[in-house]
């Protein structure tokens, strides 16, 4: 580095043009010292990259057991899953897999892309009652992704038994990010039978084969 080498201005001396110009010239090289302009093109290849320098992937090829278990009802027919009935599901958003939220550790700040996919089932065979025959299926498995409590994506979700993939992206600050992948059923109509003729509860919804994939882009 170039240092102050030419003329050090001191108090009560005259600041002549030469004093300033000489020093500016000598400083030229320090102003334009090694910078990206001096680095050759293609100097950074993959071998030079530190892990997570540019991006970091967070994923679960099988998130937990892949199934929701928070609202699993055992009083159902064997032709149904141990899954959410209106007797066990009391409303609100529940996590796709029971447990703590997913933590994206070491997020360095920047752009986050996150996708969550799987299969979801909603009974959906009943309209809202004889006086409200439309829509045919007013029931949905609503889905949403929260990142640090902020909604990244929210969808109406499947209405029958279908695969889903919900994704979103946004810019987030550095630090560990808390991600919640949640589902929510629509409440029954006043006319819905929620037990069969034998008194078994009717499964209203389930979610399985769940996995998630996220990329943090830090540059």
């Amino acid at each position: 580095m170039k240092k102050w080498t030419k003329r050090d201005a001191t108090e009560r001396t005259t600041a002549s043009p030469a004093a300033v110009n000489d020093e500016l010239r000598s400083s030229q090289s320090s102003i334009t010292t090694l910078d990206r302009d001096q680095l050759p093109g293609d100097v950074v290849d993959q071998s030079r990259l530190q892990t997570y320098a540019l991006h970091r992937v967070y994923l679960a090829e099988k998130w937990g057991s892949g199934e929701q278990t928070a609202a699993a009802d055992t009083d159902v027919l064997t032709r149904a899953w141990k899954a959410a009935t209106y007797q066990t599901y009391t409303g609100g958003w529940l996590s796709g897999v029971t447990g703590a939220p997913v933590t994206l550790t070491g997020f360095k700040g920047g752009h986050l892309f996150l996708e969550w996919s799987g299969n979801a089932y909603v009974f959906g065979a009943m309209a809202d009652g004889v006086s409200q025959p439309k829509p045919g299926s007013p029931r949905y498995m609503r889905l949403r992704i929260l990142v640090s409590g902020i909604v990244l994506a929210e969808r109406r979700g499947p209405a029958y038994h279908e695969s889903f993939r919900i994704f979103g992206s946004g810019v987030f600050p550095s630090g560990d990010l808390s991600v919640e992948l949640q589902w929510r059923l629509i409440e029954p109509s006043a006319d819905d039978p929620i037990e069969d003729l034998g008194g078994k509860n009717i499964v209203q919804g389930h979610i399985y084969s769940q996995k998630y994939f996220a990329i943090g882009r830090f540059r």
């Binding site: 201005a9 293609d42 099988k62 899953w81």
Partner: protein, 310 residues
């Protein structure tokens, strides 16, 4: 880069030695060639190696895609199959192919692709499908497991479909050679031919083994309830053509795996089930009305991306 944050000299300002020296020191501060200046903030796009023909850059190192099925936008050339029969064990899955019946896998070439430690393979696929059936609400007859019985208001039974019967599609890969003659299920995926319960009469998969599976409904039933009963006969509803969409991830944290090709297969109709002893949830073959069940498909695509995880 470091930034100099100091007010500029304006016309009429008197020259002050302290100020002047401070300005020069701004440009000559020690440690200017530190890690931040020359590493964190200095690299720009020109310094990064450009992707070449064999490298796709720092994040994604491989990408490939292929059309699958009978690609016809107007659905005039489709493939139709009948549901798997009741003969145990269930038949091997149907292979998605073209209208002539030839499978349509995606090939990764003679050398295949190798997923190494620190990489992940992402696979996505879609297919235009049309579940349908013959007859009137065949899922409510005989030994079918695809309906519930409700009170019709007079104490008698009224059958209503569960709407849970489905066709299941999943991925297979060949990790032996580019001949693509040894396809097996990808990790975390069952072939739905595992005997589960019932002394070898119930076949399917535990839901935990369906990580590459995506499903579409095999039928839709609909009723208008009235005060906790189903007084009128339900209606069968056309499922119609709909898009199927699947995803699967294959990360490697150690070692490596070479893959030569992948394909989409399917079976059905399938139905929910649980083991009352173990509590495990299953998808099992619903065979009572399978001979009346149909699945038509047209075209779609499969897309593969291999990328670094960090």
């Amino acid at each position: 880069m470091s930034r100099i944050n100091r007010q500029r000299v304006e016309d009429g300002d008197s020259v002050d030695a302290t100020d002047l020296n401070a300005r020069f020191q701004d440009y000559n501060q020690s440690g200017g060639l530190n890690a931040f200046n020359t590493r964190d903030a200095a690299f720009d796009l020109p310094q990064f190696k450009n992707p070449g023909a064999s490298t796709f850059g720092f994040l994604a190192s491989y990408q490939n895609s292929a059309l699958i099925g009978a690609n016809d936008y107007k659905h005039s050339s489709i493939v139709t199959v009948t549901g798997v029969s009741s003969t145990p064990p269930p038949a091997t899955p149907f292979i998605v192919g073209n209208a002539a019946g030839s499978p349509t896998p995606i090939s990764f070439g003679a050398a295949g692709i190798t997923v190494s430690a620190g990489e992940v393979l992402r696979v996505y696929w879609d297919l235009s499908v049309y579940p349908h059936w013959i007859g009137s609400r065949p899922w409510t007859t005989g030994a079918s497991v695809d309906f519930y019985t409700f009170d019709n208001g007079s104490g008698a039974a009224m059958a209503l479909g569960t709407n849970a019967a489905c066709w299941a599609f999943w991925l297979q890969w060949d990790i032996t050679s580019n001949a693509l003659s040894n396809f097996v299920e990808v990790p975390n995926q069952s072939d739905f031919r595992t005997p589960l319960i019932g002394g070898g009469t119930v076949y399917g998969a535990q839901l935990g083994d369906t990580m590459s599976t995506c499903v579409v409904p095999a039928f839709i039933d609909r009723a208008a309830p009235d005060d906790g009963t189903i007084p009128g006969s339900p209606d069968q509803v056309r499922v119609g053509w709909r898009g199927l969409s699947g995803a699967w991830y294959y990360p490697k944290t150690s070692g490596s795996q070479t893959i030569y090709g992948m394909r989409v297969v399917f079976t059905g109709p399938m139905a929910p089930n649980h083991n009352s002893s173990t509590g495990a949830n299953h998808l099992i073959h619903s065979v009572a009305w399978s001979s009346d069940s149909r699945l038509s498909y047209a075209g779609g695509s499969i897309d593969v991306v291999k990328q670094r995880t960090g």
